[in-house]
Symmetry: C2
Subunit: 301 residues, 2 copies
């Protein structure tokens, strides 16, 4: 068992390297473009995140028997979309944060105008990367277009954006559990789910497996946000790399605010158990996805 | 000749209606989403722009013998991308404008946070629309993916974004003609060009015609920005629907600043003449594109 654990940790280390190298390659400087925009894109994307979403994509590829290089561009695109959302979320008009991943936020480092444009650039570039790679997949155009559409839906008004809007609308309000779930499912779980289901589109799995993966993704996504809110209450600022206890100050509705820390942890743990139940219905190498699911509730940053 | 003129004006009126109805249809309210984000998207998109870019797409479809409904979703998507860029460009951290198309800017109306998210939402939604419609075109996946990629490239760091960044970097600086052309070609002409060349991708025309259309698009795009800068100096605030004489105040490099009004007009007129020379090399119904090219230098708003 211990050996198994070391193996998967080593695999994650290698996959993270693969992801980081690929991100770096995509974000190369081009002499004909203003260097500052590439610099600002690199600054935020290469700041050393957990790479949770791209890891989920790559482990889903392993589960479904896809070659990693068929999925890697999409995994990188999702990480760029995630990073754009953080950059815009940190802006003074939004969460007004100074620190992210242990470094100054984009607008603190480059100014607000460049930070806004850097977010825009990353969102747009994510689509450029996915489209360019789709053009290489002559036999599988349809699957790849569906994968991009899945990601686009998760990032847009039917996903992340509405979560973000809902978050802003409900500052300093106590909201119902139903509304809190809407918030978390849209703001966080949608893109986490899409990092898994978009790979299912590429692999063209049947409807049943796709729906199991969808439920798995949503449940771990929800658990991820609950843990995020718990860490905001209990976590170590230095380890997390951003200010803590912000939610309370902003009067944000969170699981800890509604249920307390220990009940929230229980809910998150249960979500992971349920998620893994759905995962167990699928045949194949599930070690990676299963490990990440556990990691989500055990992480300290 | 006069009759001809009336005909084309009537056609533009009908096509604008088609575009506006289609935009409205795409931006319908959904009871499960926070109404404010759809409201803010509608507010800016349906504020009655000239619809220059979608008109160019539809007239290119006519020239190349494509049915309008094959291109209309892309035309609408381009208008959404254009509108997102205006919303972000108007933000306090960027151009800090209060008026756009004769109405309050998005952030003045809805606050900065919602304005940022509305821009994000429109960019993302443009891709959703294009991808969803591509899925309907089984026989032509490749052409449609190339069309989306063409638009994405024009909107991203190789196009509009770099133009915007370059604009910010060069406030209160006198820049060379070469740099000014880089600025205009990226900030403005790239998306105008793509509204034409993306249709050429869908129609799968040969390389020669594509390159004529590319040159036509770039030249009218450049002329459009020169006229925009001239109107900023000489135009009527009420007709244009935004504050004038802003460029001078912000120390922006423009054609009028470098060459004066009359020489700038001459340059714009020459660009249109050259553009039409390239258009004339293509067989088909060129009336629409030709009329828009002339309109660009004759417009008063």
């Amino acid at each position: 068992m211990n050996l198994n654990f070391d193996e998967i940790k080593k695999e994650i280390f290698l996959l993270r390297n693969l992801i980081n190298n690929s991100l770096k390659k995509y974000l190369h400087y081009k002499k004909e473009l203003p260097a500052i925009i590439i610099k600002a894109m690199r600054y935020s994307v290469l700041a050393g995140g957990k790479r949770l979403r791209p890891l989920l994509s790559l482990f889903t590829a392993k589960l479904l028997g896809l070659k990693l290089n068929k999925v890697l561009p999409f995994a990188c695109a999702i990480e760029m979309i995630h990073t754009y959302s953080l950059i815009h979320d940190d802006l003074p008009a939004m969460d007004n944060d100074d620190l992210r991943r242990g470094k100054l936020t984009s607008h603190k480092k480059f100014g607000e105008a460049i930070a806004i444009l850097t977010g825009d650039a990353l969102l747009n570039y994510a689509f450029e990367i996915m489209l360019k790679n789709t053009l290489k997949e002559k036999k599988y155009y349809k699957n790849y277009i569906k994968a991009i559409y899945d990601i686009a839906s998760a990032a847009g008004i039917n996903g992340m954006i509405s979560g973000q809007v809902f978050d802003i609308l409900n500052e300093n309000k106590i909201i119902s559990k139903k509304d809190l779930n809407f918030l978390h499912l849209h703001k966080t779980a949608a893109l986490i789910r899409a990092s898994i289901t978009s790979v299912a589109e590429i692999a063209k799995v049947n409807y049943k497996i796709k729906s199991f993966l969808k439920i798995f993704g949503e449940k771990i996504g929800l658990a991820f946000q609950i843990m995020d809110d718990i860490l905001d209450e209990t976590g170590d600022e230095k380890k997390i790399g951003k200010k803590v206890k912000k939610d309370r100050k902003k009067g944000k509705s969170t699981y800890p605010a509604l249920y307390g820390i220990s009940k929230s942890k229980e809910i998150a743990n249960n979500l992971i158990l349920e998620a893994k139940k759905y995962l167990s219905k699928i045949k194949g190498n599930k070690k990676g996805l299963s490990y990440i699911a556990d990691y989500i509730v055990n992480r300290i940053k």
